[in-house]
Symmetry: C2
């Protein structure tokens, strides 16, 4: 019932080769042919496992997302103040991105397809969804959760995008302060 050893070997070779190539050239310039040459895998075999180079990369991303999920689920002391819980959650996100900075640099690259962005989006969005249950405005009748979730999720991704553009120079502490400041400013949003 286990997976054929050859399959594992082939896929690992390809993934390893991709990592090696990524050290010297951008993802978008890596061809299937050169990947196979380096991995000592027949090019025909490649297509038995992946459709394109992105398929190989995506596998890595799935591992990273899994790690993300685990570190996010880790319990912490939840206060009754929603903003403090938010804060604790966001710190986790920032730490995760920092941890895999090399990958996120690729994901946010303008030549890369939206797939990866959406993968990250959906992950964070599912986190948000869980948190929503403990939130104070769950009673709101005339609000579609879908829009609220996508709004808030993508807002956070906006912070990450800006972080990326500033080449990850902003510290996590600083990032956190900014987020808090933004949230309290939006508090004034409707009054101004």
């Amino acid at each position: 019932m286990k997976k054929d050893l050859r399959i594992i070997k082939t896929q690992e070779s390809l993934r390893h080769a991709l990592l090696t190539l990524l050290k010297s050239k951008p993802l978008e310039t890596i061809t299937i042919a050169e990947l196979c040459r380096l991995a000592n895998i027949n090019r025909g075999t490649f297509y038995l496992h992946y459709r394109d180079v992105h398929g190989v990369f995506k596998h890595y991303l799935e591992v990273i997302i899994e790690d993300f999920r685990q570190s996010y689920e880790e319990p912490y002391y939840k206060t009754n103040f929603h903003i403090q819980n938010i804060k604790a959650d966001m710190v986790k996100i920032f730490h995760h991105v920092k941890k895999y900075q090399d990958f996120y640099q690729i994901i946010f690259d303008e030549r890369i397809p939206m797939t990866y962005y959406y993968l990250l989006f959906d992950t964070i969005r599912s986190f948000m969804k869980e948190n929503l249950d403990d939130s104070p405005w769950m009673g709101e009748p005339n609000i579609k959760l879908e829009y609220l979730l996508s709004y808030q999720t993508n807002a956070i991704l906006g912070i990450l995008m800006e972080w990326h553009r500033q080449e990850y120079k902003t510290s996590i502490q600083e990032l956190n302060q900014q987020l808090i400041a933004i949230l309290s400013i939006n508090n004034l949003f409707t009054r101004g």
Copy 2:
């Protein structure tokens, strides 16, 4: 000092051919070769004007963005209530996307590179930046505008993404109501 007529003719042929092909197949599957065949342009000539098929598409997008800019700049009666001004601005964005729905369906496709997303992002972000001057929290000392702008811009793009995922079935009025509701909910954000 004017541009050579041949250049204009060639580029127009290619753009027109792209539009035709887009009616029957997704952007990502259109090859340079077939585009040139349809446009009656030598493939070598193509490379004198564009690097890839996306280059041709991007030209269209630039025209669309220009139209966006113009419709956004149109004056309207600004109230003293920031949220009402926001509302009027957002309606413009929604209308624009609806107007060019066929294009935005492509731009938000997961196979498409992030470039287009960023182009839209930067456009909306520049609108936001203008508006920021009249906003009540400009005095805030310890906040970096860059992060605030990216946060708010991408939040709006989150709404657009959700709209896209729901196949643009939500009406603009409904969309607007949702946005207002979200903004007032975020008002509670820090208190909960």
